[in-house]
Subunit: 367 residues, 3 copies
């Protein structure tokens, strides 16, 4: 039993109002439909879940402030004013850490010139390259790769299969999930003469053929701030001559693609499958929904929000709320979608009008 | 030569009608344009491929029931009534298994408390965490990672680079492809006050700034049923307090993203690049085409089919056939696309009408 | 200091016109806003960056032919006629190679029957399967996996975590980035009776349920030509009975999905998150923007260009320039988008017309 907390301790930790028995001991947080033990604490902040919790026989619940419960049903109740925020503190109390023993596992390969900080755990089958720096308190799970001269941490948590390229710099308290790639070369190719895609953009037609694709090397690396979390199977590429940058506090979901030279601000959220093309700039606190695309060299203003599957093809100002591809103000998108759905009716109106006008014209003639 | 089968054995195995020499020995299945040996069996169930097969000099073919062949051209012909289904049985006959020797390779790192079943093969450079359970007959290819307390198999087949998180449960006969991630933490963050994206959805405008993103930990794990196949570089995240679930018999392609708390039914098919946002529910036997997105908390009814690149933004009932983003009934989508393509002509009609009405009005006045 | 080049050597190597001191020594290529040393060479081919370069105090710059500089500001200036192409040669001069020592690292596991060429570097924790062939001069970074009978190189560069499936063939000078998957099984399943998705396409409605999904095995492997580059976390699947093919010189970005039996031509460019469904054919020199999807069995003609997020649902002829989903000629797409944005105004015109016609009709009646 990794966690056993008295509910009055929980109340204090999450800033909740407690009613009932403060000595009640909780060992697990769960959903009202998954109660299985007398020491469960059920999350029923959604009003529809309160009857489920009552039915379940659970002895302790978390409810939204304002909910009313029948007397005597629960032994202890925690009331919270912003349930989603309470989840953050609650789940933190019950999260289990996977232990990787401190020191370097004998199966790991660490180049002698690497500098390993204090209280670092380097798990089995990890590779750490020459002159890499692993900050104090960092944990490298099995099969991580750290390229030469990369600098990580302190207190980084790198899950299995994470690959950090040569020279990449990642700040404090980074969390990187399974198999993400940070610091692969950018996708940057050029044809000796202007390429088909360059001319097509300029002229509207394909007038050239790309006979030879020449590689532009990536010398710029990646620099990632503090408190950044990066999802599983996500890729962030090296810049060309200056680094690709991710600001402090930014959170990136799985399957995201961030191209070379991109600059991402602070406290940005990018949901799964987002793609940011080369040299785009994403402002501070921007929120990009799932599968949003941002075109190369585009600037997305601070605090902008893009709904899922938006394609941001041109610059957008701060605090924009956009959707669609190409992305446009979300209210305009909804209006357009509504108008499209009524096109059939509009067509019919026009057909009817044509007949009526024809009759008027004939009436005019016949008159 | 790993496979050599008499064609009458093949006929029985795949339930085909045989004409010709039942003793003909087949060593390879191939395309009519790639015939290179006298023991090839060419798949020519597509009518256009029959002349190619004739031309190739191949001695044995598989044809669709009803095809007519010139006498004396082939030594043996197999007729099948549902060619695509026949492919399943035929390719199974000729598939080669990559052998990983039973036992634990000396370069693998298996924690002493892990429980390894009978006839398990643990390949080179694999890691198996504390208290993990590997079911009988499972095969772990090189460089697989199994987190602590994960439970796999029996008869699982995990390809190189597969990462299975702590506590994840995967049923019998799972096939997981290169570098997929099962059981990374969900992308779940919250701001102390309502966030810009929350308010934007509610009000239609960005009226807040996300100063601080607080992490919600993932305690729920992932539970995957029997006979599930998961593609390369695909990610399935842990639930928050209850597991993310994938039902029996479901097949998931490469580069798919499945968020926390998602519940996927049985016998579902998800094509490449699909993304399912947190807490969505995908019914049984649903088919999602390539790059389909499903928004968070959305319910997709049983047996629904979504064409590639659909964005399912709201609940859809069972047996829906949808397309577009936001997804709508596919017939409506086609009608709308047709109407859009005719907008130019509609505009012209309206311009003409305006002139005619103007003339009528002037005629009326002048009258 | 890994690189120190006299600027007249650079001029010759990149075919630039030099003005100033040919003996000036350059040690680093950088952006005008990142100058930090007297031996920096600043790339200011973009006119807006010239004042930044002047301000920076940098002593040497690369400018676009035709730019005018104040006398005496720089010690040496390189003029180039096609700046983006010059970047290719310039960055190559300054790129650092990550050294993996030749030979087989003691922690690598190489099956005895594998054939390892001359001057091959096999890094730590790599696995090379039975009968695999590694061509001369190839470099396998830590934690690479090479399946049995795969053939790679010569002069291949495989980054950490790359997985090459059994029997896959990759030509000379391949570059494969972190965690890409080449040669996983195709996503190919069939129902004994026609499936819901098959019938939905044919009839427009869901009329069947997929009770049982039968696997079609992938026997065909993958064959990749020379000079191909493949991005991080990208997946290319095995063909069914013939290989999936990628032509010489083709460049594929991160997070791309290429399905079974796909045939990709030569010198193709695929940007991040592209998805190509099974059996599609992509012609030579095609350029696919980010997140473009191509439906199964579709043929994309040579030299075609698709803008980001296009969904190519049917065959397109050579030199097409397309956008949208379903993809259509890009000029038509722009016209349609314009017409959609004017729908509100069109609706209003129709409303006005209806009132005017009503008045005319009433006028007629009242007359």
């Amino acid at each position: 039993m990794p966690h056993a907390l008295k509910i009055d301790q929980i109340a204090t930790a999450i800033n909740a109002r407690l009613e009932g028995d403060g000595d009640f001991v909780v060992t697990r947080l769960t959903h009202p439909a998954h109660v299985s033990s007398d020491s469960d604490l059920a999350l029923a902040t959604d009003a529809a879940l309160l009857p489920v919790a009552v039915e379940s026989g659970v002895k302790a619940v978390v409810l939204a402030e304002g909910a009313t419960v029948p007397a005597g049903v629960f032994q202890a109740v925690l009331y919270v004013s912003r349930p989603r925020y309470a989840r953050s503190k609650l789940t933190a109390l019950f999260a289990e850490t996977i232990v990787v023993p401190m020191g370097i596992h004998p199966s790991a390969v660490v180049e002698p010139s690497a500098r390993i900080g204090a209280k670092v755990a380097i798990g089995p089958l990890v590779y750490v390259g020459a002159e890499a720096v692993i900050g104090d308190g960092s944990v490298l799970h099995p099969q991580v790769y750290i390229g030469p001269k990369a600098e990580i941490g302190p207190d980084a948590l790198l899950h299995s299969g994470v690959k950090i390229g040569a020279g990449v710099k990642i700040g404090a308290r980074a969390i990187c999930h399974f198999n993400c790639s940070i610091g692969a070369d950018g996708f940057s190719f050029v044809t000796p003469e202007p390429g088909s895609h360059e001319l097509a953009k300029a002229t509207g037609a394909v007038t050239a053929t790309n006979q030879h694709l020449c590689r532009i090397a990536s010398l710029g690396g990646v620099v990632i701030g503090d408190d950044v979390e990066i999802g599983a199977n996500t890729s962030i590429d090296n810049g060309t001559i200056v680094p690709t940058r991710i600001g402090n506090g930014t959170k990136i979901d799985n399957q995201v693609q961030i191209g070379h030279n991109v600059v991402v601000g602070e406290n940005v959220m990018m949901c799964g499958r987002v793609g940011i093309a080369g040299s785009a700039e994403i402002g501070n606190r921007v929120v990009l929904g799932g599968a949003v695309g941002v075109a190369d060299h585009v600037k997305v203003g601070d605090d902008s929000v893009a709904i899922a599957m938006s394609g941001i093809a041109g610059n957008i100002p701060p605090k924009s709320f956009v959707g669609g591809a190409p992305a446009r103000p979300r209210n305009k998108l909804i209006e357009e979608q509504f108008n499209i759905s009524r096109l059939k009716s509009l067509k019919e109106k026009v057909e009817t009008l044509m007949k009526r006008v024809e009759q008027l014209e004939q009436g005019g003639k016949s008159a």
